[in-house]
């Protein structure tokens, strides 16, 4: 009896969460998918009306801008944050003094909420308050740094703030990875007189492939669901130049009473996430079977 109970307890304990996830995650994904095929406006309607919402979505220039921004933001953010994180990790890995303190300093931005980061950078980058005003105050009258108010460059300010926020976290991931590489191999390489940079490029970094993948997955989903940073830093502006899919969806669902449109954009966002996560899960699961 107690044996049976012992075997069943994990299942019983997990059942409520399993049910909750089934309903509140997958159930609502299904509901959103349904709504995306209807003409729902202010309130949900359940009459299927084909792919009209997707046609409208792809015809909207604002959605184009949002997807484009996601592409620019996602690529730059992930690549730069990883490169910077790796560089910081390698530098910190040189058994330097006060490593603990430095590590904490770099990791700290992660402790801030995106809203705080966004607001702080909004002030720093505002031409009349921040860097531009400061440098002009030093006497360089012609200095100009107006990315925040330039519709073509505003998206880079979001990249900048997001990298500032997350690269410390990536550094911590990589540092853990660097430390987990077998010290014997490194010592053997050093005995063979191989230069340090070669040790990193040929031995340490290749053995950290799983860490790269984890860092990529974390950063990619941060990028796709980015919302608060945009709202705090640019409010989607100038115009809608820095709209991302998440802010587009929010505007449609909550400001414009266009639920069908919001649902279709949510489905596209989910497809993007799936396109990244499914191969990852697949490779993870396959690795377990091997």
């Amino acid at each position: 009896m107690s044996d049976w109970l012992g075997r069943q307890i994990p299942k019983i304990l997990l059942a409520p969460t399993f049910l909750a996830v089934l309903v509140f995650v997958y159930g609502f994904i299904a509901w959103t998918a349904w709504i995306s095929f209807t003409r729902s406006r202010l309130m949900p309607q359940y009459e299927i009306d084909g792919v009209i919402q997707y046609e409208r979505l792809f015809a909207a220039p604002r959605w184009d801008t949002a997807m484009n921004n996601l592409y620019v933001f996602g690529t730059l953010f992930i690549v730069i944050a990883m490169v910077l994180g790796l560089a910081l990790a390698i530098l910190l890995d040189q058994h330097i003094r006060a490593e603990g303190a430095l590590r904490t300093i770099y990791l700290y931005p992660m402790a801030l909420s995106m809203i705080v980061t966004g607001t702080a950078w909004k002030w720093i980058l505002n031409p009349g308050l921040g860097i531009e005003a400061m440098v002009r105050g030093w006497g360089f009258e012609s200095f100009s740094f107006g990315w925040l108010v330039d519709p073509d460059k505003a998206i880079y300010t979001i990249v900048l703030a997001a990298i500032w926020q997350s690269s410390g976290f990536v550094m911590a991931l990589f540092l853990a990875g660097l430390r987990s590489v077998d010290g014997e191999i490194i010592k053997a390489a050093q005995v063979d007189g191989i230069p340090t940079w070669r040790i990193y490029t040929a031995i340490i970094i290749p053995s950290m492939a799983p860490i790269f993948l984890s860092a990529f997955i974390v950063l990619a989903h941060l990028a796709i669901k980015s919302f608060d940073l945009v709202i705090a830093l640019t409010g989607g502006g100038p115009g809608y130049a820095t709209d991302l899919p998440a802010t587009y969806m929010y505007a449609m669902a909550f400001s414009r009473g266009d639920l069908g449109q919001a649902a279709s954009s949510a489905m596209i966002m989910m497809s993007v996430v799936f396109a990244i996560v499914v191969p990852y899960l697949y490779s993870e699961l396959r690795a377990k079977h091997d």
Partner: protein, 414 residues
């Protein structure tokens, strides 16, 4: 336990006493939570209590009403909507179509609303011919505010045409003053846009383009001129305007950093709160051109269950349109009473001008709903127009391209 028996005894009493003795109750959802606005709602709350009602306040702050709409959707879906909700313009019709609004024609007829409200504004308060909402105030959107000192020291008169405005702005720019205080938020771009549409195209064109969404009007040469003027105005705005709140732009005019602001009369509240006097420290005038763009706040009445709630709803509607609330509320808020029979003695010169113009424009057929403030169009269409306006204003898009995009966006939003 004693308390419990007492309470149940009371409720039994209340039930037996029947409807005649039911205490009118109302649950009111609104997003007037900031200083002056909250004070204005408190006035209504006091009047309601003085008439023996019990008021449940349901303020939902945030997002210019977005948060409240989300809460309302949840309440309406679960079949338990509040008594009255701050809603305006076509949104009232949208909710009516969902079949959740009540008929308050009894109160409206007993109080003679049809005689005291301008017919045009009253139309917004009706669903399929019966009254379903109570109007609170009228904001005029097409105002231009100016710093009196700056205009005087530069020898500039309040402009009455857009050419005069441009000439004045060039002069100010040369003198080192920012001509136009503006905040780069899409609704502010839209506010300026609609005043230019009205000013350059006239009331009839405004009606065709931004109310009827007539494709010919949207792609006309007049619309191109409007976008040309928007591009010119862009040059009169300082470089830091991106993301600025409207009240900070008002402060620029107040502090003499900028000369003009185009904004609805809620901006007056900021001037007055800072101790500025209209006519002396700051000037108000309608934006160049004729016509009156209105933004009417109102409470939509939802279908409620129970005699006490129905009574509360009727009482609330009566009080909202009642002369005493109309006066006190609008003195606090900076707008004007929606009733035409309220004395304006206590109001300032801008409000008096607004009221005079409203009545004159109502006669001429140039009293028009503001599209930028959700009076003329439903959310999806208004949003589609705003997207194009703000994209044009914040980039180097040509007027031709803007006009094409405008027509495409409107068609796509249907």
């Amino acid at each position: 336990m004693k308390l419990f028996t007492a309470a149940s005894a009371a409720s039994v009493l209340a039930m037996t006493a029947g409807a005649a003795f039911a205490e009118p109750k109302a649950e009111v959802m609104h997003w007037w939570t900031s200083g002056g606005e909250a004070k204005s709602v408190a006035v209504l709350q006091e009047e309601f209590a003085a008439r023996g009602g019990s008021w449940t306040d349901m303020p939902v702050a945030g997002g210019g009403g977005d948060a409240a709409m989300t809460a309302l959707r949840a309440r309406a879906l679960s079949g338990n909507p509040p008594t009255a909700v701050q809603l305006k313009g076509p949104a009232i019709q949208e909710w009516y179509e969902e079949g959740v609004l009540a008929d308050i024609s009894d109160v409206a007829e007993a109080q003679g609303w049809a005689d005291v409200l301008p017919a045009q504004l009253a139309e917004h308060m009706k669903c399929d011919g019966h009254w379903c909402a109570a109007p609170v105030n009228v904001h005029r959107v097409n105002w231009i505010w100016a710093n009196a000192d700056i205009l005087e020291s530069n020898g500039i008169e309040m402009p009455t045409t857009w050419e005069e405005f441009n000439a004045a702005a060039e002069k100010l720019k040369a003198a080192g003053v920012t001509p136009l205080a503006h905040g780069g938020q899409s609704w502010q771009d839209a506010t300026v846009f609609e005043t230019v549409v009205l000013g350059l195209g006239g009331p009839e064109f405004y009606q065709q383009a931004l109310v009827d969404l007539d494709e010919e009007a949207l792609t006309s040469d007049t619309m191109k001129q409007v976008f040309d003027e928007m591009r010119v105005l862009r040059g009169y705005v300082d470089d830091n305007f991106s993301g600025r709140e409207w009240n900070l732009a008002t402060a620029m005019v107040m502090n003499g950093e900028a000369a003009f602001q185009i904004m609805g009369d809620w901006a007056k509240g900021e001037f007055v709160a800072a101790g500025k006097v209209p006519g002396e420290d700051f000037l108000c005038a309608p934006t160049p051109g004729e016509g009156y763009l209105y933004n009417v706040d109102s409470f939509a009445m939802f279908e409620v269950e129970g005699e006490d709630a129905k009574e509360g709803q009727a009482l609330l509607a009566e009080l909202i349109v009642g002369p005493s609330f109309q006066e006190t509320f609008n003195l606090n808020k900076g707008s004007i009473p929606v009733r035409t029979d309220v004395s304006l003695d206590k109001f300032d010169m801008c409000a008096q001008k607004s009221s005079e113009d409203m009545q004159a424009d109502a006669q001429n057929g140039s009293l028009l709903p503001s599209y930028a403030h959700g009076m003329a169009l439903r959310g999806a269409q208004a949003g589609a127009i705003t997207d194009v306006v703000t994209a044009h204003f914040n980039s180097d898009m040509s007027s031709e391209e803007a006009v094409e995009q405008l027509a495409a966006a409107v068609a796509n939003s249907m």
